[in-house]
Symmetry: C2
């Protein structure tokens, strides 16, 4: 079984010994739990690159909006611990809210510009919550490397920017999105979907495939690609709202004409479930 | 001579070796240069408590308001280096603005509540600039201990709060204000004062002494003490504006009746020079 810590002081003491006295390298995978194949890919990558792998499981309240799904976000620590054991995780950190945000807590981190668009527009305050909790976790674990999935592409960019701007001595390692056989990106929130809704959720991946096919046929105009994707998505009955379909360069600036490495980013609602996904364009 | 580094990468490599390979403890004194007896006290304390002492000299533009004294803030690296050598400082870090804030820099740290009062009211954005640059410097140097003067009492509290809230593995060590023989607190900005202005600047220390005397005579009402201090200060011809005279508990909440350890905080202008100082109340 991995060692389980709930207190900052305890995990810090344990890792301090490994880091300094034994000279071990530390890989860190921050998660909100309910682990799936996406998380497993992060953990496996960390296992390859580091002596010690630490996984945090913490559903961070400050990155949820007041009307969002914080309360019903899926949680199952026993299942998560079994997965961590199976993958050979060394240390699991499951702090309480009181441990992370004791009374009087009043500091936050803001990464401007890239936090105001896309997810930031539809989830105001979300990235402030993410940046702050990630910074806290990075300071607690002090890893050599931390692993983030490309599924949450904008989050990855925000974390990379914060780490660079604040001179954190940590490497951020992006890991490719893991998809189910039919193309649906693994997400803890997929558990919310009924069978019919799941079918509509697949429209995201189908839209990526359509755009990629059009690109391979020589179409390069973002507008044309976006319109085609939107039509495809809207033909699915359970898609209740499209927050955005956009094409940007790797740094999240919208592009008019697509190039290798640009990203298609989509956020939409299927029934009462909000899903996001993105796709790296190949020419 | 202390080793002088201008690049983040270089100082980091150097300190990494001392910290990890040689197991040295690191003390850090962040300054804006033009070192005086106050800085020297910080450096001496660091020398006592650590194997290696690092001093940064950086006039941080982001903590100055647009109409403040960033441009004319006194700078003299040769003099500072001589002082550092004399005191046995091991490493001096003098980054450029480009090194600290490269193009596209967009992250900042906010400590709410205690940054909005007192200095925060009169210098909007000041503590955001301070917190952000201190966090960057702490991440670059990764000291075991960092030293801050009580002269900038609110700054000390902001840094302590940030370090606690963000779980930085660093001890913040406060060091008592150092005063000239006549009571004027050492400050790089004292160089702005003419001889006559310097005399009016002394009204701050005289006000502390007056309040302390009244307290020793049994007076405990903040309002009474503040009024007496204000009258004394206003009798000095070169005091052009009083920003605040207040009495707070150690956490900067105003008090009506003073107790041991409370603080008198004063900010005022002498001619074109803004001065701040504070006093720990003894009953």
């Amino acid at each position: 079984m991995p060692l389980l810590f709930e207190r900052i002081k305890d995990i810090r003491n344990h890792l301090e010994r490994l880091r300094c006295d034994e000279g071990k390298s530390i890989g860190f995978v921050p998660t909100m739990g309910y682990l799936h194949e996406g998380h497993k890919a992060l953990i496996r990558e960390s296992k390859v690159q580091n002596d010690v792998t630490v996984v945090s499981i913490y559903v961070n309240p400050t990155q949820f909006g007041p009307s969002e799904d914080y309360e019903r976000y899926p949680r199952d620590l026993d299942r998560d611990m079994a997965i961590c054991e199976e993958l050979g995780v060394d240390v699991v950190f499951t702090p309480s809210d009181e441990e992370m945000y004791p009374e009087g807590f009043s500091t936050n981190v803001n990464v401007s510009c890239i936090t105001e668009i896309l997810e930031g527009e539809f989830r105001p305050g979300h990235f402030r919550g993410v940046a702050t909790v990630v910074l806290k976790l990075l300071n607690i674990v002090q890893p050599d490397r931390a692993y983030f999935g490309e599924k949450d592409y904008q989050q990855l960019k925000v974390v990379q920017k914060m780490v660079k701007d604040l001179n954190l001595p940590i490497q951020i390692i992006p890991v490719e999105t893991v998809r189910e056989k039919d193309g649906l990106a693994f997400s803890s929130r997929n558990v919310y979907l009924s069978e019919e809704e799941r079918d509509s959720a697949l429209s995201i991946y189908k839209a990526f495939q359509l755009a990629q096919k059009m690109i391979s046929e020589g179409k390069r105009q973002s507008e044309v690609l976006i319109n085609a994707m939107e039509d495809l998505i809207r033909s699915h009955p359970h898609v209740t709202k499209i927050d955005y379909i956009t094409i940007t360069d790797p740094e999240l600036s919208p592009v008019q004409e697509v190039r290798e490495g640009d990203r298609i980013l989509i956020a939409l609602w299927v029934g009462g479930t909000r899903l996001i996904d993105n796709w790296k364009i190949k020419l």
